[in-house]
Amino acid sequence: MSVLDADPLSHERLDAGQSKTWEDAQGQFTVGTALETDALIQAGIERADVFIASTAGDNTNLIIAQIAQKRFGVEKVIVRVMDPARASWYGDQGLHTISPTRHAIEMFERALQPELAS
């Protein structure tokens, strides 16, 4: 398991509330942004079986996921896309997208089911 994040503070967050440090738990951490090829390689993308793009930016995630797929040939790539419209189109293009917004809407609808039924 390897985490790439631009903010070194995120490393501490990985340790918070855990009995072991991230490294002791066999985790790897690299500081860098996702578009830096060097950082991706340092984080071990070349031997990754799975790549998850879940930065705060939809566009960053969509671009970086395609880089992981097309440049580094990562077999399984999953992308977080907040905007359901973009998630759906890129999903049609063959990217495995997950839209938390879409899921949240479904959960709200489910929670409102009794009211909606009456």
Partner: protein, 223 residues
């Protein structure tokens, strides 16, 4: 022509102005409210407020009938995404993207987003042209005519050493006009054999410097 320009910074704004002056229909999309208000007065209905990476914003701007989409925001991911969507979802015939960080140029290429224009690369190319590569000297440039006369010292390892001028398959748009050997210059005949240490003068179409250098000084000259 109908052009959509994404990003109303200095580049986007001036581009929009130029295209409108030339009689083209233009929409400029700007995602910051402040940036939008700054251009609204000048561009009126041609200015649109919104994040062009949201599909409905592009659709509201009429992307389906756009002949050209230019993405010139300060964010490379946004520029890549807008162009990718324009090209692949809305089948826009022509896209142009701005590269902010030259290191991202490869990513644009990988995703088929061409042309991708980087100011840094453009300036670098100009510098390379102005400061000649080792071994190649610009003697005369006819900028208007797009011709130049250059001089190259033939290196030991040049593939043309020992070849007659008539045997050298120079690229089209280039011609050896003179050879300097032992302090004497002469106009070569087809059977003149090129020797290491010769200085050859060529007339070329601009842009052929690199190709020509490979013939006479593949690794630069030592002198």
């Amino acid at each position: 022509m109908y052009a959509i320009i994404v990003g109303a910074g200095k580049v986007g704004r001036n581009l929009a102005r130029e295209l409108i002056e030339r009689g083209h229909e233009v929409t400029v999309i700007e995602s910051s409210r402040q940036g939008y208000l700054a251009i609204e007065e000048e561009f009126e209905h041609a200015a649109q407020y919104g994040d062009a990476t949201e599909l409905w914003v592009l659709e509201r701007s009429g992307i389906q009938r756009a002949d050209l989409v230019v993405a010139v925001t300060g964010d490379d991911e946004d520029n890549m995404l807008v162009c990718q969507v324009a090209k692949e979802k809305y089948l826009c015939g022509r896209i142009i993207a701005r590269v902010n960080n030259p290191r991202n140029h490869d990513h644009f290429r990988l995703l088929g987003i061409q042309p991708a224009v980087s100011a840094t690369d453009l300036i670098l190319r100009l510098i390379e042209h102005e400061v000649p590569r080792y071994g190649l000297v610009h003697l005369l440039d006819f900028e208007e005519e797009r011709l130049e006369i250059i001089e190259l010292e033939v290196s030991e390892d040049a593939p043309t050493v020992g070849e007659a001028v008539s045997e050298i398959a120079l690229p089209e748009g280039s011609l050896i006009i003179s050879v300097l050997r032992g302090g004497i210059g002469f106009v070569p005949k087809p059977d003149t054999v090129i020797e290491a240490g010769d200085e050859v003068l060529l007339v070329l179409d601009t842009g052929l410097e690199e190709a020509i250098t490979a013939f006479f000084a593949p690794n630069g000259t030592s002198g």
